[in-house]
Amino acid sequence: MKKLRKFILFITMALVLVAVNAQQRFPKPEFETGYEQPDTTTPEPRAAALEYVDVFILLAVLALASWFAVKKRSRRGILWLSVFTLIYFGFYRNGCICSIGSIQNVTLALFDPAYKISITVLAFFLLPLIFALFYGRTFCAAACPLGAIQDLLVIQPISVSSWVRKTLSFIPHVYLGLAVLFAATGTDFIICRYDPFVGIFRMDGPYTMIALGIAFLVLGMFFARPYCRVFCPYGVLLGWMSRFSRKHLTITASKCIQCKLCTTSCPFDAIDEPVDEKVRTEKTIQSNTKRYLIFGLLLPVWMLVGGFAVSSAHVLLSKAHPDVYLAELLITRPELKADVDNLDIQAFLESGKSMDQLVEEAALIRTKFKKGGWILGAYLGLVLGIMIMNQFVLRRHEDYEPHKGDCFSCGRCMDYCPVVK
């Protein structure tokens, strides 16, 4: 009896389904053997609540790192914290989402009204910057998995002359600018695509990504933390915050005795040496001030030149956008429409979108690149101008002190300082 009822139920269900699926080529059969259809499984993604746990852990790590760096003065504490970060945010959470990449999410949220940024991602963007504004770059010291993996592999760091460092320090600005431009135009998330370590964290990835990661790590044994110093776009923002931070790690607990030990301990050349008072003569100060002001007046010129240069390159830059690339390809080489192996072109032809529509969209993206190019170029010009101006700053400076903008707050120097409280 029970079987019969089940059978009738099944038949009705099947009939309903057949009626709904009237458009099917082959209607669903009516089984006579009591076959039960399996369910289509849908494994759930990681619970959203766990994202909040990540934010909480980041907050805790940042707070602890700041306490270790500024108050407790414990290099060991920072070291173990960075090991935890490497394991948790790196290998367990696969390095995603990270604060560095979140720049792009925030940019996209500001420029694309259709994109909704998750509140946890916004927290990942804001928290390290807020902490940097109060305690320096403690995020770099212990809360960044990319920093941690490099920091633990600093083996025989070499000192690099200051002009090389200063020249290289321009690259992160370019990277940041391009990342923001590409994210704002909805082109690409280049920070994530060229993240060298995410492949190592996942223990899986394209060959090039793993090779790049290993190359960075090997280089990092000698040129400490190469990604952080030469590429990291988030480091630019952290540097601004940290330069004017309320508190910052100090090398010595009381008074500097000018022993120079700390400069040998710092693998990043981030310690400013005292300025010799003999250099600070009235004459040099005067001529420096003059040059500082002249280059200050030249700032708008740099900005205009930069803006013009980058916006002139907008045609080239916009090619990174798939739609622009496709439109250009179809205009210059219309014979490719017949190429059945070109997936992008075939998918476009199948989509029913007209050529005019595509060209119109591509043109719109290109104007965005032109506008964005002016802003990016002006920004780069401004940065370059300020970098030149800073060459003429001769501040009174008596002790060995960490450079607040560049210092990662790793705390090695505190360990080396022989002065006790």
Binding site: L17, V20, N21, Q24, R25, F26, P27, K28, P29, F31, E32, T33, Y35, Q37, P38, T40, T41, T42, P43, E44, P45, R46, A48, E51, N94, C96, Q104, N105, V106, A109, L110, P113, Y115, K116, I117, S118, I119, T120, L122, F125, L126, L133, D188, F189, C192, R193, V198, R202, D204, M209, M241, R243, F244, S245, L343, D344, Q346, A347, F348, S351
Partner: protein, 194 residues
């Protein structure tokens, strides 16, 4: 002024710059927060847009890909001559490897009753190449289709397949509804788009 050493010009500049940076950070934060949602987002393939180009198998950061073929049994015709299982032109309907369309032999064919066969995807073997999807959509009901499996997907900030998808079929969907299963009439929405 000599006595009051606590507040120099340098301090003033520092404090002013700190305030400016703090305010601009707050500004960016508030502006972004107006576009923020509590919802978590994950990547998913819209099967109605998918053109089975095969890039899901090659462009995922994971190997094998987190994209797998799923079977919407509600839509399946349980055909003996399955366009998703057999290579085109096969005359003898046998389960020999040379007759199968799937390069990974990830589809299991099971006899139910005359003349119906059940097809089950072995996700351990599936590489997400969409060959079966193309066959099923061309000759059958289209019950086989690709989906990103969230037990595998690492939810990259930007899905590397989405970047190269020629038909823009991969999009961010709310994590509360992480799948777009074809013919999922109970969930609604899907049926009208067929």
């Amino acid at each position: 002024m000599a006595k009051n050493k606590e507040y120099t010009r340098r301090d003033f500049i520092q404090r002013g710059a700190r305030l400016t940076l703090g305010l601009s950070l707050a500004g960016v934060g508030t502006l972004a927060a107006t576009h923020a949602g509590k919802q978590k987002y994950v990547w998913q393939i819209d099967p109605f847009k998918c053109t089975q180009c095969g890039r899901c198998a090659t462009d995922c950061v994971l190997s094998p890909s987190a994209v797998k073929c799923v079977h919407a049994y509600d839509l399946c015709g349980y055909c003996d001559l399955c366009g998703g299982y057999f290579k085109p032109g096969v005359t003898k309907l046998e389960t020999g490897a040379e007759k199968q369309l799937c390069p990974a032999a990830a589809i299991e064919r099971k006899y139910i009753e005359e003349p119906y066969f059940e097809y089950i995807i072995n996700e351990e073997l599936c590489i997400g190449c969409a060959k079966c999807v193309k066959g099923c959509s061309s000759f059958g009901n289209g019950s086989l289709h690709l989906q990103i499996r969230h037990d595998l997907c690492v939810n990259c900030n930007e899905c590397s397949i989405a970047r190269v998808c020629p038909s823009d079929a991969i999009k961010r969907v709310p994590a509360s509804e992480p799948y777009i299963i074809k013919g999922d009439f109970t969930a609604g929405g899907g049926a009208e788009q067929v």
